[in-house]
Point group: C2
Chain length 381, copies 2
């Protein structure tokens, strides 16, 4: 058997963390089939793949072959696809699966899948035998541009998303952009919400670029690798400066305070709402709320919503299938969020496109009034 030749146009983003924890993100088409050499170079005897049934059926055998060809003992743990696997039960399932594969301290866990698999497998790796190394092979756009980078791992609790977890950096991230060819349109769009997010947070030029080039990301042109690399560079820079989210890393939560509340209110049912859709609505809300507070112009808020809508994303509370309840229920769902400190609400707001900032101590009544009007605008449509 001959090893497939990697494409020449591989992009690399370096994450320069200290204490021996620096790592590379490789971005390019076909990386799943050439993963073995890169993973084997990390050392270790065994590599246990964690994946979900959908991604596993498409790519696990190819990844496994590549790992075994590189001399690693490989095994696979498969969970059900969907957010529901990011639970206490999913955690137990993955840990027990890894133990059954006899994963020891020097071995590697390889997360093959979207953000759900990455977060879940990463948390299992963080805690299995009090910590084994892991590699991210993100296969959704969201995972390639966001969740696979930065070392946040975890699961959901009944009382809220991502409330249990650990900081555990991967040793390597392999973003095979060809894997996105099999991703559904809907998941592609959801991931695209996070791409646009980087422009909205701190890079107006990147948002301009997105407005001009977003179709190439979807269709699999070279814009795809460029976008993934830009996002990873942006995320890597933030994570390096603020690994544990004591400060600016919170900016990455633009749109997420609202978004997480909507996910909670729809019971994490991806038939109704997926993470990126919640984030899209959340970002549109954050800009409209910023405009209402006089922080940014109404035309900025309009431009954000228009672009997200053009890419096929929802931008209004009313777009949530089955509805998202009353203002009170949204506020309640938000105050279970991690970004609540001593009862006060913290939002990411914006002074314009690419000018987001952390706004702590936002008045609950002001949020309530804003949401009231947002829901009322529904009745006029």
């Amino acid at each position: 058997m001959t090893e497939p030749t990697p494409r020449q146009d591989l992009l690399t983003v370096h994450v320069p963390l200290d204490a021996g924890r620096a790592y590379d993100i490789l971005i390019g088409r076909g990386l799943i089939d050439t993963a073995g050499a890169a993973v084997a170079a990390l050392g270790g005897r065994r590599a246990a793949i964690v994946t979900d049934a959908t991604v596993g059926a498409l790519y696990a055998a190819r990844l496994r072959t590549s790992l075994e060809r590189a001399g690693l003992q490989a095994g696979v743990v498969t969970v059900a696809p969907g957010e529901a696997s990011k639970s206490y039960a999913g955690f137990a399932e993955v840990c027990d699966g890894l133990l059954a594969l006899k994963v020891e301290r020097g071995d590697l866990v390889v997360a093959l899948g979207g953000g759900v698999v990455g977060d879940l497998a990463g948390f299992a790796a963080a805690t299995l035998r009090r910590g084994v190394r892991f590699v991210q092979v993100p296969t959704s756009l969201l995972a390639q541009v966001d969740s696979s980078v930065g070392g946040k791992t975890g699961i959901n609790a009944p009382l809220g998303k991502n409330l249990i977890g650990a900081f555990h950096q991967p040793r390597l991230v392999l973003a095979d952009t060809a894997a996105l060819d099999t991703l559904s349109e809907r998941e592609m769009r959801a991931g695209y919400a996070e791409v646009a997010k980087y422009g909205l947070i701190a890079d107006p030029g990147f948002f301009d670029w997105c407005e001009a080039n977003w179709r190439g990301i979807f269709s699999g042109g070279p814009e795809r690798e460029q976008a993934v690399a830009s996002c990873c560079r942006a995320k890597a820079a933030v994570v390096t400066r603020d690994e544990r989210e004591d400060g600016e890393r919170a900016l990455l939560n633009l749109g997420h305070t609202f978004g997480h509340a909507l996910e909670r209110l729809t019971g994490y049912d991806s038939a109704r709402l997926v993470h990126g859709e919640g984030v899209a609505i959340g970002m549109a809300l954050a800009f409209r709320f910023s405009a209402r507070l006089g922080l940014c112009g109404g035309q900025d808020a309009g431009r954000v919503a228009n672009h997200l809508a053009l890419a096929g994303l929802p931008t209004r509370l009313q777009a949530v299938p089955g509805g998202c309840g009353t203002v009170e229920s949204i506020l309640d769902a938000m105050t279970q969020d991690k970004k609540v400190r001593d009862g006060a609400l913290t939002f990411i707001l914006a002074r314009g496109i690419g000018q987001s900032f952390i706004a702590p101590g936002i008045d609950r009544a002001a949020v309530a009034a804003f949401l009231e009007d947002e829901l009322a605008s529904h009745r006029d449509l």
Copy 2:
């Protein structure tokens, strides 16, 4: 209400870890009633007590009163007593309980109980919102001399003990030696196995002292605080030099490779075997195995077994109620242990009392033959 006066003879052991993680262990009678001031000094608004039903009924109200008097909002999460709570389900229960108490990132988790509660609450604290601070208030002898110090936290998996967990150091340890007055004789003896362990590992003088003074530890004389302080000093020194068990910290596992296997084989059923009893048998086995390998004298092995037996502890496989199966089943149970690297067995063996060392690569057949003879000696009894 007046604050009870702490006894003057409070002993303090300092654990000098770096990066702001140094902490104190306070040892003395009555510390539960004066805990509030020490805990409040760490900062934070809320202190959530995690305990088990037995310890909670005895001490939770007193601890809570002390915390509230010091201005902290306090709540209690109670699990069932016993090793079975150190499970995935127990972990979910404690995390959900802490979330229901609205524990936020700046708040504190206070583990009130034996090693089970300490390991479980510590792991929940390590992962809740990706890490909140915690305080250990150990109430069993084992927890005071061993599990509450050093930051190892975790739960058991069906495939083995302590296979899931995190390193998460407490911010403070309050060892109220008066709490041991309500501990059962059996648990007292089990904890005493870990006390004797420190002598056997590296301190022959302390083992001499134990032989002369063990009764004072049990009866609550000043020997009790002295022993707890000596053990904490020994453990703190090892942990400071090797926090993550890359080396010498493994010495603390003297007797534990055998011991854990016995716990597994008895289904973690404390009616049959508690941790310290497994350790006592394991230490006696480790010394007899060392003698058999010609590493130490048979009289050392005899002296160890005699002293443990005098203190009421089991020292033979046959002492396990209901039996512990065949040699093969013991070996299988041992090879699921964390101390297995690349399939080879690692033991802590001894060249004499206080001269233990890490012995990797021990031949499985040699262990099998030794266990065979140990089990055979049963039939002669």
